[in-house]
Amino acid sequence: MPETSAGTLTAPAKPAKQKPGGTLYRGREGMWSWVLHRITGVAIFFFLLVHVLDTALVRVSPEAYNAVIGTYQTPIMGLGEVALVGAIVFHAFNGLRIILVDFWAWATRHQRVLFYIVIALWVVTMLAFVPRHLINVFSH
C-alpha cells in the first residue's frame, strides 16, 4: 500500500532471477525479422525436401504417389498447410524488404517501417487465405 510508494524509484532488495548464460541480446525489429526469416527459411527447405521426394514418387508408380498424397488429406495436415503458407508469405515479403534495404538508401533508413508493412501484408494475406482454406479442409 502507501508504504510501497517509494518502491517505484528504489530497486527491490532481491534481484528477481539471475540469468546464468548471460542476457539475451535485446535486438529490435531488424534482428527479429532476421530470426523469423531464418526459421521460416529452414522450415520451407524441409518442406521442399519432402515435397520433391513425394512428387518424385509419381515416377515410381502413380499408385504409390496417390497413397502418399492421400495421407496428407487430414485436418492436421490442413493446419500444417496454414503454417506452411504463413512461413512462405512472411519469407517472401521479408525477402523483398531485404532486397530494398540492400539497394535503396531510403529503405535502409526506414527498415523498421518496412518491417511493419511486411507484417501488415502478412496479416492481410493470411486473412484472405486461412478462412477459405480451413473451410475446404474441414468440409471434405
Binding site: 530497486a11 534481484p15 548471460g22 538508401a105
Partner: protein, 255 residues
C-alpha cells in the same frame, strides 16, 4: 511572504534535483583464476539521475569491490574503451545515463559478446583489431600533392564518407552482430565502416584493393541486415547503410 515562498520553492527543486536513488546493478563477473564460468553478482549503489553507468562501476570499484575489472580511459565517449552490454544492448558505460534506464529493476551489465572474455567486463580485442588492420585503414595515394599544398577535396566529396569518419573503434557494433557471434571470421561492421571511410574518399587510390578484400565469403556478404550495429553505435553511424553502400560498390566494381 513572497520571498519566503520563493525560498521554499527553490529548496524544493534543489532537493528534487539532487535526490539519490538506490540502484541495483547485476554485473557478470569472471575471474579466470577462480571461476570456471562467469557468475552474476549484485551491487547496490547510491546514484543520481544524472550519473552514468560508468560512475556506478567506479563507485563499486572504489567503495565496494576493488577487484571489479573494466576498461575506461577518457570517460567522455571518445576513446571507445568502455563498450559493454547494458540491459542486453551494447552501449558505452560513459554515455548511458541512469535517468534513461528503468531503475525499478536491476540493471544488467556484462561484457560485449563474441570476443574472448578475459576478466569481468574486459574482453580480448585483438580479433577485432586484426579485422580492422586487414582492410588497410589508412590513406593510400599514388600521387604527390603539389609542393606545399594539401590534397584538395570538395565539400560534396567529403560529405560522401562523413558518417564513417566518426568511428571510435569501441566494438559495440561488431559485438552486437549475430553473424559475428557465431562466425568469428566475419570482418564485422567496424572493419567495413573503416574500409568505407577510405573507399569513398576521393583522395584515396586503393578502393579496388579494399573492395577486393571485402568481396570475400567472410566479407560484406555475411551481413544479414539485422541493424543491431546501427542501433548499438554510440556515435550514431548508420552502419548497415555503410555496409550496403560497400556491397553496391563491389557490384558496380568501383566506389
Amino acid at each position: 511572504m513572497s520571498t519566503a515562498m520563493l525560498e521554499t520553492q527553490s529548496t524544493d527543486t534543489a532537493d528534487a534535483a539532487i535526490q539519490a536513488f538506490t540502484v541495483t546493478f547485476l554485473i557478470r563477473r569472471f575471474d579466470p583464476d577462480v571461476d570456471a564460468e562467469p557468475r552474476w553478482q549484485d551491487f547496490d549503489v547510491e546514484m543520481y539521475a544524472t550519473d552514468r553507468v560508468l560512475d556506478a562501476l567506479h563507485k563499486i570499484k572504489w567503495e565496494q569491490d576493488g577487484s571489479l575489472t573494466f576498461r575506461r580511459s577518457c570517460a567522455h565517449g571518445i576513446c571507445g574503451s568502455d563498450a559493454m552490454r547494458i540491459n542486453g544492448r551494447n552501449r558505452l558505460a560513459c554515455k548511458t545515463l541512469i535517468k534513461d534506464l528503468d531503475i525499478s529493476k536491476p540493471i544488467y551489465v556484462e561484457a560485449i559478446k563474441g570476443l574472448p572474455l578475459e576478466k569481468d567486463l574486459v574482453v580480448d580485442m585483438e580479433p577485432f583489431f586484426a579485422s580492422y588492420r586487414e582492410v588497410q585503414p589508412f590513406l593510400i595515394a599514388n600521387s604527390q600533392p603539389e609542393a606545399g599544398k594539401e590534397r584538395i577535396q570538395s565539400i560534396a566529396k567529403r560529405e560522401i564518407f562523413d558518417d564513417t569518419t566518426k568511428c571510435i573503434l569501441c566494438a559495440a557494433c561488431t559485438s552486437s552482430c549475430p553473424v559475428f557471434w557465431t562466425d568469428g571470421q566475419y570482418f564485422g561492421p567496424a572493419a567495413i565502416v573503416n574500409a568505407h571511410r577510405f573507399i569513398f574518399d576521393s583522395r584515396d587510390d586503393a578502393a579496388s584493393v579494399r573492395l577486393d578484400i571485402l568481396n570475400d565469403k567472410e566479407g560484406v556478404w555475411r551481413c544479414r541486415t539485422t541493424f543491431n550495429c546501427t542501433d548499438a553505435c554510440p556515435r550514431g553511424i548508420e552502419v548497415t547503410k555503410a555496409i550496403a553502400e560497400v556491397k553496391q560498390a563491389i557490384i558496380r566494381g568501383k566506389p
